[in-house]
Symmetry: C2
Subunit: 331 residues, 2 copies
């Protein structure tokens, strides 16, 4: 039985979306058990699952505008903190939250703790490409600054995840840089290039440019946290803007637009589906001793369901324990 | 008369697209004169303009894969180098090239030279937003690393451009960062925040996130060159992928799709137009002693025409001389 600690109070649509996602996951996956952390009276109205689920009641929670480190240190009874502690104490195998990202990263590092040998856990997510092939990218902003050693480790971490969780036999690992030549970028990127090129456990394909990310240029993209964060937000913002402009172009075309849109309905839904981040799962703080997974703040029940599915796969493939062994061998 | 030195041999469609753009610009703008640098026999077949245009023949040119600094230093007779030298020698007021970006940045810095007081010229372009309001962003990759002082200067440079060339009375200047709080980002970003907030000549609105760039969040966005380059390429790549996916969704919908697309034709063209980078002009190496402007490598005649129009405005508003005065006062 895989035990997942879920922060029921985090995210814009909590607890409803969280609990409804949990209901659905419990119905589909007979091998998981969920512990919900949060306000019992607010959770219970949405909870239809009756088996393999428990509620650990707490009234304290971390808000989206709380200062992360301070919140984790002072709000000892917050739903997110209790969920992370359950993992630390062996009562659960993984933690899921749609709440304050910075706080969850802090909880992951301070409570669940780093894998020995991993200098800086990185935030990683699987991003959809137009072909559906997708890619993993890290660090997406767990760190504002990274050394070449961190980037080297992200290559190993990302490749491990792509191989074990996504089932890609020989993941192509690329380094996000401002040009493809190995001399490009800052001294940190140049050094990271050398370290990645000399790493025998991964298939490094060299530098990749941000323009090519959605064109299946690599299976794993390594980035420093600052740039990764900016690129992720740019993809989200641009896709949203273009789709929004398309929608308003159709709307403003009057009857002709309505009819045209009706004829194209299936195709446009297909496109929306391609770019649907809700099925891609959450962002993983990778490099800590258990799966610590952040669902998007605006997650609906579907996103939560797919994030639980992703956590289940991570537990099934035992990717974190394998990582522990991998890094123990390296140090 | 405004004299523009044009590298006729740079870019994927040179010299045809370059020369055709020049023809059109000469016809529309009676106050400009163009000097074309490149292979006379290749330029002449496309040149229909007969007045205010001269060709300076040279057979040497810089290729897109040439190492920039080496190319500028050794190919003394290259069309790009001669065009830059013409500016330095006072024979022309501005230089335009669609060729090797790195080489043009090097030519700008080494030949045209920095404005006194500007530590590192930045590459800046005007990016279209969905509303048509647009924003200027710099540095887009002239530098792989920037100090807080550079970012401070980019705020001043970008604001100056938005005010004088784009006619925005009080441009809102934002700092691209991984969160809106002033404590966000690397120490360089935190220090840049302080410097920009205390700069009396600009209207600093604080940090902006990459997700909001296309939503008119600021008129000028300041970024370090590495992140700016990644964000620009991400916007381009994402917009292209989404539009490509839309196109293939329509195509694969068969007759229904064709009919729907026909009804939506005007709207979809409108959307394409909104995102049309070709009318936005080129990227300016801002902070050197004359307009040094890079048109996109894939520029067609229309892009070249609009880039010349942009250079004309820069010369008309005398933005570079004003900058020289501004920075002389500051040092």
């Amino acid at each position: 039985m895989k035990k997942i600690a879920v922060d029921a109070m985090g995210g814009d649509n909590a607890p409803q979306a969280i609990v409804e996602g949990v209901n659905r996951a419990l119905a589909d996956f007979a091998d998981i058990e969920v512990i919900l952390y949060g306000d019992d009276t607010k959770i219970r109205p949405y909870l239809t699952a009756t088996e393999r689920v428990t509620i650990v009641h707490t009234e304290e929670k971390i808000n989206s505008d709380d200062e992360p480190t301070k919140a984790i240190r002072t709000k000892k009874k917050a739903s997110m903190v209790l969920a992370a502690k359950a993992v630390k104490d062996g009562e659960a195998d993984a933690v899921l939250s749609a709440g304050n990202t910075g706080a969850l990263l802090t909880a992951g590092t301070l409570i669940v703790k780093r894998i020995k040998g991993v200098e800086r856990p990185g935030l990683m997510t699987t991003l959809p490409t137009m072909s559906g092939q997708n890619f993993d990218m890290l660090d997406l902003g767990a760190n504002a600054e990274n050394t070449a050693t961190h980037l080297h480790q992200y290559g190993i971490l990302g490749s491990f995840y792509a191989k074990n969780v996504r089932g890609i036999e020989k993941p192509r690992v690329g380094l996000l840089n401002n040009g493809t030549e190995e001399t490009k970028g800052t001294p940190v990127h140049q050094e990271a290039y050398r370290l990645l090129a000399n790493e025998p456990s991964i298939h490094f394909i060299g530098n990749v440019e941000a323009r090519e990310l959605l064109n299946d240029v690599a299976d794993v993209v390594v980035s420093d946290g600052f740039t990764g964060n900016a690129v992720l937000k740019t993809i989200e913002g641009t896709a949203k803007s273009v789709m929004g402009a398309l929608k308003s172009a159709i709307t403003s075309a009057g009857v002709k637009g309505k009819l045209g849109a009706l004829l194209l309905k299936d195709s446009l839904y297909g496109l929306k589906d391609t770019m649907d981040y809700s099925k891609a799962g959450g962002a993983v703080l990778f490099g800590v001793q258990a799966p610590v997974v952040k669902a998007h703040g605006s997650s609906d029940a579907t996103s939560i369901y797919y994030t639980i599915k992703q956590i289940r796969t991570m537990l099934e493939t035992d990717v974190v324990s394998q990582l522990v062994t991998e890094f123990a061998d390296k140090t």
